[in-house]
Amino acid sequence: MEKEELLRQIADAVVEMEEDTVEELAQQSLTAGIDAYETIDLGLAKGMERAGQLFDEEEYFVPELLMCSDAMNVGIDVLKPHLKSENVSKKGKVVIGVVEGDTHDIGKNLVRLMMETGGFEVLDLGRDIPPAEFVSKAEEYGADIIGIATLMTTTMPGMKEVVDILANKGIRDKYKVIVGGGPISPAFAKKIGADGYARNAADAVKVAEKLLGNTDLALGA
């Protein structure tokens, strides 16, 4: 099979949530001598990107996106031992978490998934995270981006607190702050002084890329 054809089939199998097919094709790619990084980048990640698009277009929903990710991970498990370390280049470092008081982390998990697939290094703080911890972990980790999620209106003020803590410590400019989640709007993001608003997991990757590319389009202004 041609290389391009094989990579396309791998991407399709990710979109179709076919774990067994992904595993088999990933093995084939190694036998054919295709570089493991290339198979991940142009096969698996491409498929996941398309799954993200389908999610954005409301063709796929959370169960489908998670199953695509499982299929992708099966492929990554096959290919990872064959990766040459020099071609691991990352777009940036992200710390991400759900604000204190909120234990709904499905959305945040999706964002982590899509960010990792999109080439970011992600430190997932988990759920129910106090504002000060977002800041201390970002400092420790050397993050470029702080991603804050909430599903509940009750915890929205915690997002502002993160921004305020950064400002008080005089380190606001070191980080791009992206907020998102059910009750969050672009207007709210602006109001609390965040740098970006992400509508959903697929959008979060685009917003992060824009912000690190130093454009100020991320608030959809």
Binding site: M17, E58, Y60, F61, V62, P63, E64, L66, M67, D70, G101, T103, H104, I106, N109, D128, M152, T153, T154, M156, G182, P183
Partner: protein, 340 residues
């Protein structure tokens, strides 16, 4: 002067019968209205009230008296069901509601099924039943609403939610068996609530949203099991409110298939448009809880008046209230609703 008691008004509204004005309520459970201001006024506080039936009933009555909501709502959280089925609960603080600390099973394939009466025999369910009994005896004109966490949200509080959502597609037979089991537990829970004096049951199922499940899974699971629960409660002779969270475009066509007596929705949804699309629906909602927490009183007044102009059948907050919502803002809301 009001000609109908709050209970008559709510029950008539749920039957689609004529009323003098729309009732203004807050069902409890996910839509908890036990705010800090009320707890400080009277000294009946959370988290103690989650496990003590006297405090639970007294606090629910305090909330009703202070806020002006025309119902008593019990309990104040969404963890009673999952705790009874085995999950670990963090009871939170006065300001912060309880939450699931850890779901007990990683997968639907790992579930250890308990006896059908496990939920109703659990200590916290007992607390809830006793509190409902006390509150219902206190004031016969005020309806007591028993609040239940819906089948999918309870299921996703007992099995790890990320796995659960995948397994709805991947392991269908076992997923159906599990959600059906949860639903049967909830039916028993509702029956004891009704037997102890609840005159309305409200089901909130925030995992069962169009945004999370998409139209197919919503149809295959949410509609099926919510309806099974609603039908069973109807057989007890009691009306049911179902609250659907989040944006609804993906599943609007399923909403008319729900057997609920009223559909309550989030602030993001236009109830006016929903009414236009499905005139037979009894609509409930949906004043923004963000507005209630941070808004100015004139804006809350205007928002309420808009809901009345749109002929929303039952006025209510759009979602759970923040515990730091000012009491005066809620009073503005209920006052405007009653000023018609």
């Amino acid at each position: 002067m009001d000609v109908l008691s709050p209970k008559e008004r709510l029950l008539r509204s749920l039957k689609g019968e004529a009323v003098d004005r729309a009732p203004v309520i807050c069902p409890g459970g996910m839509m908890n209205s036990a705010i800090v201001d009320v707890m400080k006024n009277h000294g009946n506080v959370l988290p103690d009230g989650h496990r003590d039936s006297k405090i639970m009933a007294d606090l629910a009555l305090d909330v009703q008296a202070d806020t002006g909501f025309e119902n008593v709502g019990i309990p104040f959280c969404m963890t009673v069901e999952a705790e009874a089925l085995g999950s670990d609960i963090d009871f939170g603080t006065l300001k912060c509601e309880p939450k699931i600390a850890k779901e007990i099973f990683p997968s639907v394939k790992d579930v250890i099924y308990k006896a059908d009466d496990a939920l109703v025999k659990s200590p916290r369910a007992g607390t809830v039943f006793q509190a409902i009994y006390n509150a219902a005896g206190h004031s016969p004109d005020i309806p007591v609403i028993g609040s239940i966490t819906g089948p999918l949200s309870t299921a996703a509080s007992v099995v790890d939610p990320m796995n659960f959502l995948k397994e709805l597609r991947k392991v269908k037979d076992e997923s159906h068996r599990f959600v059906d089991y949860v639903t049967n537990q909830l039916i028993g829970y509702a029956r004891y609530m009704v037997d102890n004096g609840a005159s309305v049951i409200s089901i909130a199922d925030p995992t069962a949203t169009g945004e999370i499940l998409g139209p197919r899974m919503f149809g295959d699971y949410a509609v099926v099991y919510i309806n099974k629960l609603v039908d069973a409660i109807h057989e007890m002779g009691v009306p049911v409110i179902v609250h659907i969270c989040g944006r609804m475009q993906a599943v609007t066509h399923h909403i008319a298939n729900l057997h609920a007596d009223a559909i309550s929705v989030d602030a993001l949804v236009s109830l006016k448009k929903l009414k236009e699309a499905y005139p037979q629906l009894t609509t409930m909602g949906n004043l923004s809880t963000f507005l209630l927490e941070f808004g100015e009183e004139p804006n809350i007044q205007r928002g309420t008046e808009q809901l009345i102009r749109d002929e929303i059948n039952i006025l209510a907050p759009a979602c759970g209230l923040s515990t730091s919502t000012p009491l005066s803002n809620i009073q503005t809301f209920t006052g405007a609703a009653k000023a018609v």
